[in-house]
Assembly symmetry: C2
Homo-oligomer: 374 residues x 2
């Protein structure tokens, strides 16, 4: 089914779809990547921040982010590119620490402990892993987690009944329904049942509508695009007045990312499966958020020199050299892009770790809002 | 305060803001139009449709739209340009007729008469005129209109109480609160009180959210951007896969227009007051929707040859030759644009007449949906 991969950016790389990709990305786009270059064994140096950065700063922090190299971990890459590497793993760790400090401060002042309820339907291993990771992350920062596990054949009514109970529970400040749901359920009915005040995933149409509107603010911003923005902000990437291209228009990444960039006064274009000249449009962008789920789609030739690139894609490609038989690559051809871009997130270790950090941040924000704590 | 105008596109034209403009457009943008050319006395020929077009067709109809010239009316312009003129007045008339036929069919089959409630607060003359026009348009197609007039000093609570009554009234299928509201009222609180099933203006965040999301549809599409799309469709302008630029990002025109174009598979860029190179970006577009409220902002040099232009702007500029002392111009310099574009709406007589037609269409759709009539 899948061919072996010659290089990160080989056009013959066939990605195997992990469930995460299915959850993150809508039906496969019809881009045709341009022919691949010769394989390159060299990869750029992963640069990491030297010191913790405060929560939600908007100042230029690229210098700090590039001040130190990280030690060997899955995100670590080596060698000679010009792009600064945005270390999402490090930023996510800093955010988790900041959230932990705020939770302790809130608990000391009010006695309130933020609570996150997670509803898991079925026994998909990947979903179970995500839920376990979320639970662990909650515990680490002091968020109390509540979990409901329902069998694969549970009814929509049962799921909605549990949501309703959590909606009314004052110790729960955030409710998350783990996707994907079994096929016999209607995602829309279930997600709409979550109170918008506790919709920490930010998927309710009211939250998306408020995100799109001038002069309104959503209760919650969806975690992955919020993480993308946080990486840009903490990397000192100026957004106001800049050209931005978002590749992909899914409800949970591409569309809200575009709306967030526009709220931050970028001039935004959305590139999608029907776009006739994605390369030409993308090359005009100062900021690229790629969230389309196609391995190595964005080649070096698509990138304006100096652009900042946030790569949301997590695509497994066959790799006989890996013990698992595959490895993860982004939507952006890292080898090529890192030679042209000004800053880039690696895959893994870029946007990935930010999603759970933003979930914790949204849960804290919810508890603060509900209890009017500042 | 205002200088006299030398030509439609003179850079020294100072627009006087009518209340409509304030209602349609958010705070003034900071574009700096490029220097104006020498005044041109020539204007293009207004071409109108030869025969009624069916409701919501998607086929190419430019040929029909350009088959006959209209007689003398405020929209009529003369002479030699290449662009086809999209006659909004004629299309709106056709839509009103089509809506009237559908309402009669529904009444015959079910006995139900669609009802539209309009709430007017204060005694602003322009608002009174709009409400009167809407009422007349309703009567003409067979929609029963309900009107509540409240004094300028009415409380927010009073307005919301009337909205609640209409929300519960089964003979009312659409509720419209005439904007702008007095300053002591919170627009958001009031507009959010309208049931989303009766929000024929389509301004509720849920409607905007559903418009932004893939796989969801709003209950209602805001009338003016819906009118823009209808003009494009009925003029045979292909949208799928085309580059589109929306100039302006207001909640009631620019933003929903961009979302609609994207839902129709255009590749959309939104140009706004913080955009650094609006001319360059606009020139890439096959479709331009200008909704920024700056007289003659879009010059001929901004336009790709053959592009389709929908001009939402209605800007009064001083004109000593006019009995009223001013005349209305769009956001697009018509004299220049009509020599470059493939199709263009005039001002007045373009988008303007479409808004009420779409309101009637939304009210009919609402009654059909509530009574499950197809």
């Amino acid at each position: 089914m899948a061919s072996s991969i010659l290089s990160d950016c080989s056009s013959c790389a066939t990605s195997r779809l992990l469930p995460l990709r299915r959850a993150l990305h809508p039906p496969p786009p019809r881009f045709r990547p341009s022919p691949g270059p010769a394989p390159s064994p060299r990869r750029p140096l992963l640069l990491a921040a030297a010191a913790p950065l405060p929560l939600l700063p908007r100042a230029r922090r690229m210098a700090a982010l590039s001040a130190a190299a990280s030690s060997a971990d899955p995100a670590t890459v080596l060698a000679d590119a010009s792009a600064k590497i945005i270390d999402g793993k490090l930023v996510a760790k800093q955010i988790r620490e900041e959230v932990g400090v705020e939770i302790a401060r809130m608990k000391d002042a009010t006695g309130v402990v933020p609570g996150l309820a997670v509803i898991l339907v079925g026994s998909r291993k990947v979903s179970q892993t995500y839920v376990r990771n979320k639970k662990k992350a909650c515990e680490a920062v002091g968020i109390k987690s509540y979990e409901v596990n329902l069998p694969e054949d549970a009814s929509e009514y049962e799921v909605i009944k549990h949501i309703a109970t959590f909606n009314d529970d004052p110790s729960v400040h955030g409710i998350l329904v783990q996707l994907p749901l079994p096929r016999h359920m209607n995602d829309e009915n279930i997600l709409n049942a979550v109170s918008i005040e506790k919709d920490v995933d930010g998927f309710h149409p009211v939250n998306i509508g408020r995100l799109a509107m001038q002069g309104r603010d959503p209760f919650f911003v969806p975690c992955t695009p919020k993480g993308c923005m946080e990486l840009l902000h903490r990397s000192g990437v100026e957004i106001n007045g800049k050209r931005a291209v978002v590749i992909g228009r899914s409800n949970i990444v591409g569309t809200p990312a575009a709306l967030l960039l526009q709220k931050a006064n970028a001039t935004v274009s959305i590139v999608h499966s029907k776009t006739k000249n994605p390369e030409e449009i993308t090359r005009q962008a100062d900021i690229i958020i790629a969230a389309v789920g196609v391995a190595n789609l964005v080649r070096g030739s698509w990138i304006k020199p100096g652009a900042a690139i946030i790569d949301v894609g997590i695509n497994p490609v066959d790799d006989p050299a890996s013990p698992r038989g595959y490895r993860l690559v982004g939507d952006v051809c890292f080898d090529e892009a890192s030679k042209v871009a000004g800053a880039i997130t690696p895959v893994p270790g870029g946007v990935g770790p930010m999603t759970i950090a933003m979930l914790l941040s949204n849960t804290l924000d919810s508890a603060k809002r509900i209890h009017k704590f500042k």
